[in-house]
Amino acid sequence: MTDALATAHEHILVVEDDKDLRESLCEALELEGYASFGVENGQAALKYLETGARPCVILLDLMMPVMDGWTFRREMMKDESLATIPVIVMTAATAARAGVIDAEVILYKPLHMGKVVDTVQEHCPEGAA
């Protein structure tokens, strides 16, 4: 699946430690017509990107064990080929804490699917074909 997605033209990377939310998001995105791939933390996400996969957007949770969202974003920025991938932050943290991250949009939990889809749509216009 990873290889297939890595070569797929457009897909979404979901980085979320809560298994239920991660799976629900991936399924909902698929139902909306997007290909998606879910990982449980920043480290897993970096590993995934190292395979050459280039999602059209990354849905990123902030507070995760092993590697949190802030660290993952900083790591991303170090790699020129990854730095340009748009990031949508999903967080239960306060605006003050979440605000220090470099992201296109910050979505505050609880998430609303309509808003998630609208935001994703901007960056992945071909996905929902």
């Binding site: 430690d17 809560d18 239920d20 939310l21 799976e23 629900s24 998001l25 399924e27 909902a28 139902l31 909306e32 902030l62 507070m63 995760m64 064990p65 949190d68 999903m90 239960a92 943290a93 306060t94 505050y108 939990k109 609880p110 998430l111 609303h112 699917m113 309509g114 998630v116 889809v117």
Partner: protein, 724 residues
Amino acid sequence: MGALENTRNRQVGEEAVDLLALLVEQVVDYAIFVIDEDGKIASWNPGAERIKGYCADEIIGQPYSVFFSEEDRAAGKPTQILSHVRAHGRFEEEGWRVRKDGTRFLASVVVTALHDRRGVFRGYAKITRDLTERRQAEESARLAAAEQAARRQAELDEREMRRSRDQLDLILRSITEGVVVQTLEHKLVFANDAAARLCGFHSAEALLSASLQQVLDTFEMLREDGAPFGRDELPARLALQGTPASAVVRFRMKRGGEERWSFVSAAPVFDGRGGVELAVSVFREFTERRRTEQAWQVLAEASAALGSSLEYQTTLKQVAELAVPRVADWCSVDILSADGSLEQLAVAHVDPSKRELAHEWRRRWPPRPDSTAYQVVRSGLPELLAEITTEMIEAGAPDPEQRRLTLDLGLRAAMVVPLVVGKKSIGVMSFVAAESARRYGTEDLILATEIARRASLAIENARAYTEAREAVQTRDNFLAIASHELRTPLSALSVLISSVVRAASQGRLTKLGPEALLTRMVKAERQMAQVARLVDRLLDVSRLSTQDLRLEREQTDLADIVRGVIARYEEAAAEAGSRIELAVAGVTTGWWDRSRIDQMVTNLVGNAVKHAPGASITVSVSSGTSGYARLMVHDEGPGVPTEDHERIFGQFERATDSDNNRPGMGLGLWLVRKIATAHGGTVTLDSEPGSGATFIVLLPTGDRVAAAATEQSPAHGGKKIVRT
């Protein structure tokens, strides 16, 4: 009368004449002689010769006027006297007469007319006595008496003078004003003790005998604003130039820096020619008044400073710093801790290097229960150590090192006053005099007590504020964590439902199919249950934060509960790559609240699964010693540093910083301890970083009666309802 009788009479008469002749002839103290009717001398006796200097031969027949002075003779006095005698029979006077050698003498003279038996006038009898010696004696006696009187008067005068001088001296010495008198050469010629004390000398004699250098070394004189006086600006110098002057003068002792405030008036004393001879200066000391004013100022500043912060530590520091240097050279604040010991929380010292010494001293020799500090805490009454002597230090510090360090601190006097809130002592403030050599009196103690009273209020306010702030912080943490914890399952729920709704509304539901739809709805249901569980748990925690845990006890088997919990966690553990093993030994039943014990075991096992992914977990349940059951949850995870062993049992505490990114509220272990304690048990952690962690719970197995007794014992506080 018979013839015989006549004869005898005649004989007696003759004898009398003879005796009379003898008297006249032999008396030498009186000149007795007769003057005839013509004024010539008719008889002469040895007394006359002795007094007048003439012998009988040369004077008999001479006029008696030779005895008179030229002037008396010229005035006719001799004739007048005799005429008077002829007329009146007698003349008496004290008058000046002339001796043969021409010298004068004062004579007492009686001249009597002589008549014979027939009454015929026969001449004059003159009796003269030389009064010169008597006069001289009288004169010397008079002179002696006058001299005596004069001497007595002189003595009286001198005594009076001495008395008034002593009195003046006494007055000048005993008046509260200081008085000094200076000459034009600025030499002190008078000073009283009050003036001497003002300048730092113990007596007027010490001041008057001091050399200029000694005087200069002892004190300096400052203006009211603290600037030094120019030499010619001092009132006494101005007075010596002829102008009365006055000024406020601060006498500052060079040793110790003690200051005495005085109002000085100086006036010139002029000599007879109108030139200035001396200057008299009068000092009216008002150090006490000044101190009172300063005390008020200190109190005003204290109120302002204490009102400026509600931070507990800052307030304590300010309290100590307030007193230094105006009331004390160092000041410390000790607060009673929970175990009843005094803990020094703030020290201020004029000399920062000494502050370290004070810290060191206190660290090495904390106050003993019989020390002044503890006595003050117990009695709630201040203590004044007006003077700390070397003997007192030696008696109070048996350790030679302590004695040496104490002497190095140079303690001179101290005041220890209680910090009281309501009627309860919460600590003490110690004011210590050292470098400044000041002494403390009742007024200082009143000031210190007043400072302490204000400080107590500020400390209590700060404490209450800190507690309130911590409570607010706890509530905020709770709300932040609660909302964070709820947002994730709510997000999953929201995504699940809204995606289905979106698909349905966009006609894409068929694409999903009934099986997938069911899966999503089951997931949604699970998320709702998760949300409900979280809400229940939050409400439980919220309740437990403010009240004690209520137990519903029943016969419960700990091993059964543990089996159930492990079964519930099997899947999660497997996902985390862990395996949970169980070991049961002996009887593990007790009189416990089943659901709370379940919650406790769940938290401990869940904690192990969360923190030790991929590591093995062992849960062992055994019958412990003497009526206790023991539960041990061991994991081979990263472990917990020793310094965090207690902290992680706190409310909203997480094991590590990275845990902040893990799900969880930091309440699990707090609840574990709460539940274990409510059952009369304990929970401890045995762990070192790198070698896993073991949580050990000991629960008294008890019975109904024992369990009820445990819950109602005061040690566990409050009223409990025991349901049977």
